[in-house]
């Protein structure tokens, strides 16, 4: 079983993607998902994620394989936007289907920690008409260190 890993240039409907993923894994007792979206109400007018094609999707695919090797899953979905987004737009959807709930939680959590701190995306925000690049957060590295 391979992970379904995609880097998307256009908006996607996370509810539809999650419904299709769940339906594709009827033997799984549980599906854990994480949906990240552009926050509203913080003065961010737009967010842009840039990637480097030779590295970004290959890195996400390798992450998917690492997650599948580490937990007993029935399925793994990793969708990630690039390009410009506005508040409320979905950025990332990770879903893990497993027979056992704990595996699904850990796999989704691990995948998100690695996507956030360890994948090839550069992010900038527009506030008051000005674009500004976002520096890495220490919290992301602390999250990653949890997995040894």
């Amino acid at each position: 079983m391979a992970a379904d890993v995609r880097l998307l240039a256009d908006p996607f409907d996370p509810a539809a993607k999650l419904a299709a993923f769940t339906a594709a894994h009827p033997a799984a007792g549980g599906v854990v998902s994480f949906l990240g979206q552009v926050r509203s109400g913080e003065g961010v007018e737009a967010l842009e994620l840039r990637h480097y094609p030779p590295l970004t999707l290959p890195g996400m695919t390798a992450l998917g394989q690492a997650v599948l090797a580490r937990w007993a899953l029935d399925g793994l979905l990793i969708l990630h936007r690039h390009g410009q987004m506005t508040p409320g737009d979905p950025i990332v959807l990770v879903a893990a289907a497993a027979r056992h709930r704990r595996d699904a939680f850990a796999a989704a959590d691990f995948a998100m920690d690695h996507l956030k701190s360890d994948s090839w995306f550069w992010k900038r925000e527009r506030r008051g008409g000005e674009w500004r690049w976002i520096e890495p957060r220490d919290q992301d590295h602390a999250d990653l260190a949890r997995w040894g």
């Binding site: 840039r50 590295l55 950025i91 994948s119 550069w122 992010k123 976002i134 992301d140």
Partner: protein, 78 residues
Amino acid sequence: MAKLVFLGRLEDLAGGPEREVAPGPLEAVLATLPVELAVALLGDRVRIARNGELITERGGIVLAEGDEIAFLPPVSGG
């Protein structure tokens, strides 16, 4: 010609996402750039990929015709 690719904030410093350069030693190529950009590209936290492969040893790189050298500052996460 060869190509330099600038990711993240390096793109702003470079005034665009990429730049065509003449082949040759990377040091010589960087010496043709604005000094602020050259210094930023050589920062400790900037990783380099050559034709899509990360390079661990950045000494002695010589750009051949058609090479693509990407400068990757710390990622800001998804």
